[in-house]
């Protein structure tokens, strides 16, 4: 997911009796589906976990602009170009909404950016894979946005007010993202043999990284249990992954493409697809910074940030001068 394996800083779940009166009242509010708002009392671990989760999500949106941004100038028609540009622009917007949500928890955007730029903060593993052909733009929309939506829709109900509101806005705006991706795939799947090959190749390369987006099984994770208790995580990783596979396989079949998993088959008993094992070693390596594009993505981000510094400073200086002039005039 856009925020994978978020640590909560707790090593076990407290029972109600162990909680302080404030903590108990806090948990009762959450249990009653009352939203927590910025300046209200909250456990420090809740605040820190949220900052981690929301900023990971925001960083993912911002880094996620790069693999798709690659193809804006090369989009094959004017309409595709406009759609892709609008989509990548939305991602900037979503990053912005999320940074603002994180800022309500008492951290500045600059601090978060610095954490990202220094490599300290994480972002979704998926964006460390390269976009090699135009079909990858289709695959990202279809698979990556498809997976993201799966997680984001339930998060609209999460316990923290600003995060929930950002999610509502994002879900509303993102509804076209997955469709445009699938639309690209449909055009390719029905196109020339080369185009169809391009589409299959993209599915081959993006399928497993998409399943990794949900993170490793967290059935036994105390962090996930705590996050779910706080209602900042709604479903387990495995649950969402299964839902994603169930939804996506028929879509691939409709395109006439083959999902690159020899173990994939319908299990009538479970009412779900069974699928093969994810290569978690690859996932951990990508998370640790050894994915195909980690260094490149980070370098690009740092470059934009550093090269923009003089611009941000200039605007700030201008505003200060203008304010001083206005004050002098009034005096």
């Amino acid at each position: 997911m856009y925020a994978q394996m978020v640590k909560t800083g707790v090593d076990r779940i407290q029972s109600s009796e162990e909680m302080s009166p404030e903590e108990r009242a806090f948990q009762e509010r959450i249990d009653a589906d009352i939203k927590i708002e910025p300046k209200e009392w909250m456990p420090e671990a809740y605040r820190k976990t949220l900052i981690r989760q929301i900023s990971q999500h925001a960083h993912s949106e911002i880094i996620g602009m790069q693999p798709e941004g690659n193809w804006i100038t090369r989009a094959p028609t004017l309409e595709r170009k406009a759609i892709l540009l609008a989509k990548v622009q939305d991602e900037a917007g979503h990053g912005l909404y999320l940074y603002c949500a994180a800022e309500t928890l008492g951290v500045s955007r600059d601090e978060l950016m610095e954490q990202l730029n220094s490599g300290k903060a994480k972002y979704s593993s998926i964006f460390n894979y390269p976009t090699l052909t135009w079909a990858d733009i289709g695959a990202i929309g279809w698979l990556v946005d498809g997976a993201a939506i799966m997680n984001q829709v339930p998060l609209q109900r999460c316990s923290y007010g600003p995060y929930s509101r950002a999610m509502i806005r994002i879900c509303k705006e993102e509804s076209f993202h997955q469709r445009q991706g699938y639309d690209i795939m449909m055009k390719l799947a029905r196109g020339t043999p080369e185009q169809k090959q391009m589409a299959q190749d993209a599915l081959n390369r993006w399928w497993w990284p998409s399943l990794m987006m949900f993170g490793p099984s967290d059935a036994d994770s105390v962090h996930s249990a705590q996050s779910m208790k706080w209602k900042i995580k709604i479903n387990s990783n495995d649950e969402l992954r299964q839902k994603f596979v169930d939804q996506t396989v028929p879509q691939a079949e409709y395109l006439g493409l083959t999902v690159p998993d020899p173990d994939l088959r319908w299990n009538a008993e479970r009412g779900h697809y069974d699928f093969g094992a994810v290569d978690w070693e690859e996932f951990y390596q990508v998370i640790a910074g050894n994915g195909p594009c980690n260094r490149q993505r980070l370098r690009t981000r740092v470059k934009a940030y550093e090269e923009g510094r003089w611009v941000r400073e200039a605007a700030e200086a201008y505003a200060a001068k203008k304010a001083a002039r206005a004050q002098a005039k009034a005096a």
């Binding site: 917007g93 912005l96 603002c100 600059d110 806005r169 941000r312 605007a315 700030e316 304010a323």
Partner: protein, 96 residues
């Protein structure tokens, strides 16, 4: 964290096409009010959401303290006579 200055945070209020009052839609960073309005246009009205924008520096907003919710808002609960439904009007009089 160095104490380097960051563009200040602005809260954005938008009056939508058919809405009555300006509604808080989110926030953003901008060096000054002019740019804040323009940024708000680009960030929060990409889908034709608004006809009027207000921006206000986040640091200029004075907010009620969440801990005082009770004293601030509970007293209004007991003033039911402020609501039109408090009064019973004979039906034959019709709408009032």
């Amino acid at each position: 964290m160095t104490d380097r200055k960051e563009w200040p945070l602005w809260e954005v209020f938008i009056r939508s096409q058919h809405g009555l009052a300006h509604r808080h839609v989110g926030s953003l960073h901008a060096p000054d009010a002019e740019m804040a309005i323009k940024n708000a246009r680009d960030v929060y009205t990409r889908r034709n959401e608004g006809v009027s924008i207000w921006v206000v520096k986040a640091s200029d907003i004075a907010a009620s303290s969440p801990g005082e919710k009770g004293p601030l808002f509970d007293p209004a609960n007991s003033k039911v006579y402020r609501h039109p439904t408090f009064y019973e009007i004979p039906e034959e009089l019709g709408h009032m």
